[in-house]
Amino acid sequence: MVNTGDTAWILTSAALVLLMTPGLALFYGGMVRAKSVLNMMMMSFGALALISVLWVLYGYSFAFGDDVGFGLLGDPTEFFGLAGLMEDVTTEEGGLPAMAFVGFQAVFAIITVALISGAIADRAKFGSWMVFAGIWATVVYFPVAHWVFDFTLTDDDGVVTHTGGWIANELAAIDFAGGTAVHINAGAAGLALALVLGKRRGFGRDAMRPHNLPLVMIGAGLLWFGWFGFNAGSALAANNTAAVAWVNTLVATGAATLAWLLVEKMRDGHSTSLGGASGVVAGLVAITPACSAVSPIGAIVIGAVAGALCALAVGLKFKLGYDDSLDVVGVHLVGGLVGTILVGFVGTAAAPAGVDGLFYGGGVDQLWRQVVGALAVLAYSFVLTLVIGFLIQKTIGFRLTEEDEITGIDTVVHAESGYDFASLGGGGSTAPLAGQARAEARNTEGSRA
């Protein structure tokens, strides 16, 4: 039986999560220089387009097909092309149509890929990015989603009807909405890809200031809004777990933003708008794995720790010399690690997940599971991304030429510019028809002469 309330909430949540990717495009787009805003946004939109198709073709089956062995990968043939899912079947978890779950999980795959693009701003060929996105989703995200999100199911007699992934079942690490599968995964990939592509010309020397902070603020706001679908929707039902996740998502984000602004005020003398927007995202990232496992007070702790640590971590790239342009590592990898590991400390049996962490008398049993889950995804994603990145670099090339990079990727790669500030005449450009007329006039004059 389809539960209409649950179905309505999950379809709504899926749409909320979809909006996060355009939100991310704004968040990232405002942070780059004016000459690469379109390319930055297009990397997100490219991921939206490509991953939605791959997900339907075989991605869902990779992630949620019956396990083919050791909890590493779903059976790619079981749901190829979403075969058999169009009939009115509910998921084995309960009252959702299978297609609602397919749609909800699709938008997670999309945003995870899009997140990586922040590490390689201004300098990646668009075609190569699209090739990377497809390969990365296939060999990294789809399997990791299986590890983390695919739960083993049994029927009323205790017979296993579906075998899931190893992190969710054998290890039993708690990752409610994707601290490992989404954020540690994307963060580690961002680090690897930043290393493969190398620094932007002038990194650390030239001022690479965000060109439009209001866009960044709008983007952060849309991310926060969409994240309620991401976290509360991950309850896969319209129930108490969803409500707890919702409140924890609110309060952890507030605490993280306060912490980031406080660190800035003490260290730099100014609380900045970019810091505010970044604190929002750091808090959202950190509470993602934890929002069903902690009390609202625990959520405040996680948010505050993540906000402060991420604010400090974004400076590492200058010290260590890797150009993670928009701080995918500093925010998503570090924030993901903070949230995933802190579940082992501040998790409480009173929360829906029902597991006590170290500070609630649960000992280190959950803590080690959290650490193993986090490190496994980190290592897998980092190594595989290095390999994929180098292969693309050596074959079709990944990085723009120096001249193209300095000229600006928007005009070179997309033949567009983000802004037309000139108000005089046509701003120095000519409309196609007018241009043709002028050329004809010139020819007529020429023939007369």
């Binding site: 001022a207 800035e264 003398g269 900045t272 604010a311 400090l312 974004v314 701080d327 500093g330």
Partner: protein, 112 residues
């Protein structure tokens, strides 16, 4: 004829314009410019990374006047634009060879 060019702090533009109108100046040209002098630039901080911004925004005012009025114009601008702080700007005077009013074709002092 003289061209008086002044670089002043943007917030002083209205004061300078009013002062010039008071001494009967009929027209001027304004542009937003950037540069640096003794004031140098300023620092901005993004995610903890400090950037030195070398160029400070200024306003450039240009007035074309007759030989005799030039000194009064310079005095009026200096008085109106002065705050006593570093970064108040500069005023200089150059000689103009010719000036034409586009609409009528008048030349020289008649074109002012």
């Amino acid at each position: 004829m003289k061209l008086v060019t002044a670089i002043v702090k943007p917030f002083k533009l209205d004061d300078v314009k009013n002062a010039l109108e008071l001494i009967g100046i009929a027209g001027l040209t304004v542009s937003e410019v950037q540069g640096f002098g003794r004031q140098r630039g300023h620092t901005e901080v993004y995610r903890g990374a400090e950037y030195q911004v070398d160029f400070v925004p200024k306003v450039r005012i240009e007035v074309v006047v007759g030989e005799i009025e030039a000194a009064r114009v310079v005095d009026a601008i200096v008085e109106a634009a002065s705050t006593g702080q570093i970064g108040d700007g500069k005023v200089w005077v150059t000689t103009i060879d010719e000036i034409v009013r586009v609409r009528t074709g008048e030349r020289g002092a008649d074109a002012l």
